[in-house]
């Protein structure tokens, strides 16, 4: 295979994979934040909470 052809296709798919990876990382981070917030809300609304 021609070297330039190989490099063009490899670079292109590498860029897409890097973007997909960055997107999935951000989604995982968001899910973690949501879970933290949910547990915080659960703690606040719990009647056993001594602060309330």
């Amino acid at each position: 295979m021609n070297l330039y052809l190989f490099l063009a296709f490899t670079a292109c798919w590498l860029i897409f994979m890097l973007y997909a990876w960055s997107l999935s990382r951000r989604q995982a981070h968001l899910r973690r934040d949501l879970e933290e917030l949910k547990s915080q809300i659960h703690d606040e609304s719990s009647p056993k909470n001594p602060d309330k």
């Binding site: 295979m1 021609n2 330039y4 052809l5 490099l7 063009a8 296709f9 670079a11 292109c12 860029i15 897409f16 973007y19 997909a20 997107l23 951000r26 989604q27 968001l30 899910r31 934040d33 949501l34 917030l37 915080q40 809300i41 606040e44 309330k52």
Partner: protein, 232 residues
């Protein structure tokens, strides 16, 4: 939208379509006589270019609707299209020189088409920087929408550049007049590739919009919790 066309089905369609496009690029499309094998870069280079143009079109549309109706969905569409469009435009700027070097003997030249595509890439960068560095989200959305609308001027000029001026970049092979055209199998391969890249673009935009929606909901929940805590 998620009920009509679930994300898993969209991903599956994208993968199959891309595999068909790859098969056609390497095994179905005939070899070009002058450039040889390296001409096959055309199928990804031009497909990414068309998709980047579509992306900026969506940035423009989303920006206009956002400024007109202040719709968060329109803003999320513009933001997602801007980010994914930047990725496609980067692919155009990477694959272009890799095709130019063996064919023209140079990596880059500042002709009208190449310069305007580089300007389009800079517009995507400016758009994303505004989104990132302006602290107030509402203000960032308005400023980004203005850049999204003003920057759209570049897209039709970029498209027409190879028709209006003599450039190092080849003259158009699609919709370029009676002297232009592609061999039928090359044309079919190109259309399938453009479709596959648009399908990938739509999938990534949907994922990115889901992220923006999640962030918006998280922000609202945090504000509600803060209000609740301050009232206790």
């Amino acid at each position: 939208m998620k009920k009509l066309f679930p994300m898993t089905a969209h991903l599956l369609l994208t993968v199959i379509w891309l595999l068909v496009a790859l098969y056609m690029i390497f095994l179905y499309a005939p070899q070009e006589l002058t450039m040889g094998e390296v001409q096959r870069i055309f199928y990804i280079h031009a497909s990414c270019g068309w998709t980047a143009g579509t992306a900026y079109g969506l940035v423009f549309l989303g920006s206009v609707i956002y400024l007109w109706r202040r719709s968060p969905l329109a803003d999320e569409l513009a933001e997602a299209a801007g980010e994914v469009g930047f990725v496609f435009c980067t692919c155009v700027l990477v694959t272009g020189p890799l095709w130019a070097k063996p064919v023209w003997g140079i990596w880059w030249t500042w002709d009208a088409r190449l310069t305007l595509t580089f300007v389009l890439w800079l517009l995507f960068v400016a758009y994303l920087m505004l989104r990132t560095y302006v602290a107030n989200p509402a203000r960032a959305a308005v400023l980004a929408a203005v850049v999204g609308i003003l920057g759209f001027v570049d897209v039709p000029i970029d498209y027409m550049a190879i028709r209006w001026w003599r450039t190092q970049h080849p003259q158009p092979v699609i919709a370029g007049g009676p002297a232009s055209g592609l061999e039928p199998r090359m044309f079919l391969t190109f259309i399938i590739s453009v479709g596959a890249f648009h399908c990938l673009f739509a999938y990534l935009v949907r994922q990115r919009m889901g992220l923006a929606k999640g962030r918006r909901e998280l922000g609202a929940l945090r504000r509600a919790l803060a209000t609740h805590l301050s009232g206790v």
